[in-house]
């Protein structure tokens, strides 16, 4: 996987699962001492796994899987570039693609990739494949997505060592010397 990823990454091993069946998280054997920060993306050979969540230990970190019901990511379909948001759910398949216009062309089998707009997941990595796509009652289509990664046998992952992009300009850290007269 590493040669195919252009961004700096760090390999990690899954060492534990979630203590609560309702929460889709795993623990990896890398932490803040290895340069990992909260909200860094985690990848597997087949696609997006999730993101690092705070708090981090020195040599361990918790990863919120993309199928967790509190997880979300900016996404688009590879074929038609229809943009939307992937969210985890408790259903089967465990991913839904929301905010995709009823006018968009999305068909079962379409590959869904990360759009990169969330500032966490690098653009272009596979999230999953559209399983069903129906016209919704409102403005948006009802789309379910089967994740590309088999989360039931997750062993080794790559942590993308790129800090997440700040959501607002106020969060951008000041450069040294800025504001000093």
């Amino acid at each position: 996987l590493r040669p195919s990823v252009s961004t700096p990454t760090l390999a990690a091993e899954v060492i534990a699962g979630s203590a609560n069946p309702g929460m889709m998280t795993v623990t990896i054997d890398r932490g803040s001492a290895d340069g990992i920060l909260a909200d860094m993306a985690v990848l597997a050979p087949k696609g997006v796994v999730g993101r690092i969540v705070a708090p981090l230990a020195a040599h361990a970190a918790r990863v919120q899987l993309i199928i967790d019901r509190n997880a979300a990511a900016g996404a688009l379909t590879e074929r038609t570039r229809a943009g939307g948001m992937i969210v985890g759910s408790t259903g089967d398949p465990p991913l839904r693609m929301e905010l995709v216009s009823n006018l968009s062309d999305v068909k079962p089998g379409d590959r869904v990739i990360a759009s990169g707009v969330d500032g966490i997941y690098p653009k272009g990595f596979t999230i999953g494949y559209v399983e069903s796509s129906e016209r919704g009652h409102g403005l948006y289509r009802s789309i379910t997505v089967r994740p590309a990664v088999d989360f039931s046998s997750l062993e080794d992952v790559l942590v993308v060592l790129v800090p997440p992009r700040p959501a607002t300009p106020e969060e951008v850290p000041a450069t040294p010397g800025e504001g000093v007269k």
């Binding site: 060492i15 979630s18 203590a19 609560n20 998280t25 509190n70 759910s89 408790t90």
Partner: protein, 172 residues
């Protein structure tokens, strides 16, 4: 002594749950060992111990797993207390009533847990019923077997030791 036993049971359940989830995510959703420990404690020691065990176990689970800290704690506190009260009102010394109690406790736990999350996050209530029923049955089986092991285990060991001793006497 009782408090130490309860805390040890909760710690073992948490460690086992985390290990199972680390091995297979599907296995992790199929069983909630902390809930099994809380229901066991409530049935064995009554509502107050069940309430305290539920509170401690739920909070520990919340802290380790992420999400909103307190929802799991509150849910298990309620379940521990309810099971303790029902355990005092009805005769639950046989395997079948215990199995039913574990199943009922799991269903109530999942219902309250998802309802509280829906309230806290102002989102529609959603629950995967097939996973919940599977978890209820697996929890029931593990809980019933745990009761059998704890209650009959020492007796079986004593019998085995006595049999060995009598065999030894006959031989020499």
């Amino acid at each position: 002594m009782r408090a130490a036993g309860v805390l040890l049971a909760l710690a073992v359940a948490l460690a086992a749950q985390t290990t199972i989830a680390g091995l297979t995510l599907q296995g992790a959703t199929a069983v909630n060992l902390v809930l099994v420990a809380v229901v066991y404690v409530a049935l064995a020691f009554g509502p107050v111990t069940g309430l305290l065990a539920g509170s401690a176990g739920g909070l520990a689970q919340d802290a380790l797993a992420g999400g909103i800290v307190g929802i799991g704690g509150l849910t298990k506190t309620l379940v521990g207390f309810l099971v303790g009260v029902l355990g005092m009102q009805f005769i639950v010394s046989q395997s079948l009533p215990r199995f039913v109690m574990f199943i009922g406790a799991t269903l109530v736990h999942e219902l309250i847990f998802h309802a509280l999350y829906a309230l806290a996050e102002t989102r529609p209530f959603s629950m995967q019923y097939s996973t919940t029923f599977t978890q209820a049955v697996v929890n029931g089986l593990i809980g019933t077997v745990a009761f059998q092991i704890v209650e009959r285990g020492p007796e079986l060991l004593q019998r085995r030791a006595a049999r060995r001793a009598s065999y030894g006497r006959r031989r020499f």
